[in-house]
């Protein structure tokens, strides 16, 4: 038992040390404390997908829009651990708006009007909680 505790501490310390080294190194594009008030920071990559999806909806291509917004679902989910701590309440606001857009497009009988409305809400939510170029 004693031996295993030494081992666990060793694992914890090695992991901690490895991360500590990078923690104090500047990270390209990471938000500093001063910038944190700008909400989630630059989320233009996610916004671009919403703009693409909205363009497809405008053309009446709801099937294509449904495929395109899947890219938003997966990339947003993958970035959760990185994005959420920047501004948790803003993250939840955008996350909820994304859920709204996903369910509008995945409805068994989706309508252009409902999809447009959900995507407009999503764009507004993104713009008030993050930045983009």
């Amino acid at each position: 038992m004693k031996h295993s505790w030494i081992a666990l501490t060793a694992v914890a310390l090695v992991a901690t040390g490895a991360v500590a080294v990078t923690y104090f190194m500047p990270v390209a594009g990471a938000v500093s404390q001063a910038e944190a008030s700008a909400g989630l920071g630059d989320i233009s990559g996610f916004r671009k997908i919403v703009v693409d999806t909205a363009a497809l909806v405008d053309k009446g291509d709801l099937a294509g829009a449904k495929i395109r917004i899947k890219d938003l679902e997966t990339s947003w989910d993958e970035a959760e651990a990185g994005l959420k701590p920047r501004a948790p309440s803003q993250w939840h606001a955008v996350d909820k708006a994304i859920d709204g857009a996903l369910s509008a497009l995945r409805d068994s009988a989706p309508t252009v009007a409902a999809c447009k409305k959900a995507l407009t809400t999503l764009l507004d939510t993104m713009d008030s909680n993050g930045t983009h170029d």
Partner: protein, 251 residues
Amino acid sequence: MLNKVPEVTLIFWIIKIMSTTVGETGADYLAVHVGLGTGLTGGIMAMLLGGALLLQLRARAYVPWIYWLTVVLVSVVGTQITDALTDGLNVSLYVSTTVFAVALAAIFATWYAAERTLSIHTIVTSRREVFYWTAILFTFALGTAAGDLATEALQLGFRLGVLVFGGLIALVTLAYYRGANPILTFWIAYVLTRPLGASLGDFLSQAQQYGGLGLGTIMTSAVFLVVIVALVAMVSVTTAQHRNGSVGDEA
């Protein structure tokens, strides 16, 4: 009946921490990327866990691959319970962390009242095994809720998370050497390795713009899974040798 759980060794903690990461990213992958949704994924995982638990309860002795398969699946289901409460039912993380902590304490109280011991070295009856796995399920649920709470409410993020949870484990170790109860310190460390493993997984998988190493969740999970399988295979060989070499002395 022989003791059905492994000795707590270096490999034990490494596999435990890594199974946490695989548990979280694996379920997430099925729900979002494969598109099964959280409900269906949860159902599938609960069924798989049921099967693994049945195998574990029926085994006559500690079988490494069955034991660790069960731990990985408990990790997945424990995480999903917390996520379902938080994302599905909008339960505050303050509430779920408190409730899971109280529930875990109640499990230990019942376990002690029934068995007069909480020793993890004497999991030698089916009833003790059920207590053991119920406690483990709740350590994962509590670890997920407490870890998410630290990330959100305290805005720790995964890099600071690794430092904080690693540091807390070091403190628990210090307490152990200063004479704190070995069983208590074991379970506290067990809970803490959940958020440590999650932060470590995030650190490896998240994009560099967020301060991660940018391996991606799929690559991180695949690497961890390969390492877990290799370590379990290694443990299986040494367990078999040990058993053949000293019959009846299996601890």
